[in-house]
């Protein structure tokens, strides 16, 4: 296991919070049209021209806030899945949620029922993710109604593989424009963010994040074994269900509205663990903040590198996340 470099909790919280605020400010100011410092201030206070106000408050603000919500949600869900499955490779999509969501989205796109910008698309994706969540949960509940996390993991991986096959089948028979919009959807994009979608994602993310935060101590206990956790006062079965349900639906809400964005849920919890250690009381909230900052930064890069075109955000998170993670692994070997 990587060792932490033992930054104290309060110091890390201040650091990450300041970084997050700075990134959000940058994400509001820069884009296809970059604003001067003065335009930025005027736009925020409502003193500037209508166009500037529109760019800031109707385009960039919901998009940046969506990135913080989805990034934070994915990171805390990743940390929760790593604790639940006691597996450092776990991430929010490991149990087939992304596969289920993608099947939902690809089916309605290929059927020609919706366009890529329709509000029905996230509903279909969310329905697919929910199907995957319930299916995997049903398989993992054994005869005596206990949830076996090893079976949960295997069932999730297999269900995910099945959904991948379904997607391949649908794409094989779909026409070229449909394939293109389906593939673009699966790579993820925050370009559809609006205040309306933001409220929906927030309504899922905030309550479930608070539920996950209350599980910090039980997660610490489950890291040393389910028996020990039980004897130290944890209703392990209840905690497993709460963790699985909450983390899954946080991830599902994100996937439904912005598509599949990889690496956030895997890399961020590990980076935070490296910074402050494995105590979930620090790890969970700090993962949320760091994930929010990471995805907002990735989205800023995605829409500015080749502006006015956009790089798929999943590409950016991988290009930034993978080298960073590899360096972290090397460092953790040496300490």
């Amino acid at each position: 296991m990587p060792r932490s470099i033992a930054v104290s909790g309060p110091a890390a919280f201040s650091l990450v919070s300041v970084a997050l605020a700075g990134i959000v400010a940058l994400a509001l100011r820069f884009g296809a049209v970059s604003l001067t410092g003065r335009e930025f201030i005027e736009g925020l206070t409502g003193a500037g021209p209508e166009a500037t106000r529109f760019i800031l408050l109707e385009l960039r603000a919901p998009r940046a806030l969506m990135a913080t919500l989805v990034g934070g949600g994915l990171a805390i869900a990743g940390a929760a899945f790593q604790a639940l499955l006691r597996n450092p490779l776990a991430e929010p999509y490991i149990l087939g949620i992304s596969g289920g969501a993608a099947v939902g989205a690809v089916l309605v796109l290929a059927g020609g029922w919706v366009t890529a910008t329709s509000f029905a698309l996230p509903i279909a994706a969310f329905a697919g993710a929910t199907l995957a969540i319930l299916l995997v949960f049903g398989v993992a509940l054994s005869a005596n109604r206990r949830m076996d996390v090893r079976i949960l993991l295997l069932a999730g991986v297999v269900v995910g593989a099945f959904f991948s096959a379904c997607i391949a089948l649908v794409l094989a028979v779909a026409d070229a424009p449909t394939v293109r919009s389906a593939v673009l959807w699966m790579m993820g994009s925050l370009s559809g963010a609006s205040w309306g979608t933001l409220i929906v994602v927030g309504a899922y993310t905030f309550p479930l994040t608070i539920v996950l935060l209350t599980l910090a101590r039980p997660f610490n206990l489950m890291a040393i074994g389910e028996d020990t956790a039980t004897f130290l006062g944890t209703d392990v079965e209840r905690i497993k269900r709460l963790a699985y349900g909450s983390a899954s639906f946080v991830a599902a809400a994100g996937v439904a509205f912005v598509g599949v964005i990889g690496f956030v849920g895997l890399v961020v919890p590990h980076a935070v663990r490296f910074l402050t250690g494995p105590d979930h009381r620090t790890l969970l909230p700090l993962s949320f903040l760091a994930g929010a900052g990471f995805l907002t930064l990735a989205d800023l890069l995605a829409r500015t590198i080749i502006a006015p075109a956009e790089v798929p955000i999943g590409v950016v998170t991988a290009f930034v996340g993978v080298p960073f993670f590899l360096v972290l692994l090397r460092k953790s070997l040496r300490t």
Binding site: N144, N220, I224, G225, T228, F231, G233, D235, P278
Partner: protein, 259 residues
Amino acid sequence: MIFEGHEIIARYSDDRPPALAGISLHVPSSCLYAILGPNGSGKSTLLRALLGSIPLVSGSVVIDGRPLSSWTRRKLAREVGVVTQVESLAFPISVRELVAMGRYPYLGPFERERPEDRAAVVTALDKCEALDLAERDAGSLSGGEFQRVRIARALAQEPQALILDEPTASLDLRHEMVILELLRSSADAGLTVILVTHHIETAARFADRLLLLDRGAVAAEGTAQEVLREDILAGVYRWRVAVRDNPVTEKPSVTPLSR
């Protein structure tokens, strides 16, 4: 605390004989109660049954007059400290943090440790002669050190009862005596201590009452003099033994004879 089991039957698989075949027991307060028996006789399973960790086919467990099912895990963890046979750490954690987990049953989800929690951790570490290990990484401890730390965590729960599965198996002579005398004085101070052990001499010397299990059933129950008899032990362990009083402890001492 009083532990009662009534006709407990438990099984792990349908095609094998039950692990517990109708066991009844009564453990009074302020008693050091030792559970003995050959490998596979159901000692650990009986502990799991008393703690509600395995489903019972039939029978019941009553703790302090209340059925086990009416205890929440949190309430039970404030009253009963448990030291299981094995435990592995998935993440690096300091000894102090590990023992502080014994205070979790007292804390709300977002509540910080209070001064009395920190004091309980220090007291528990001190009792187990593990205070000097407090800042070490728990993963770097020797087997015996780790065991003392786990017992300290159970004490940090400030329980009314302790349940321990082979707690002294990896301890050296000195630390074995430290722990056994600690358990003895805890029982004298009013705690109920239930101890699974392979060490017959230990049970004879420190326990108030002994329960000898054989293939999931009670072979004998009572004081050391009542349970540790040559005919009973020979039948249960299927090996001839000689039982004499130890001149130092004046308790029964068991010597296995040659085949």
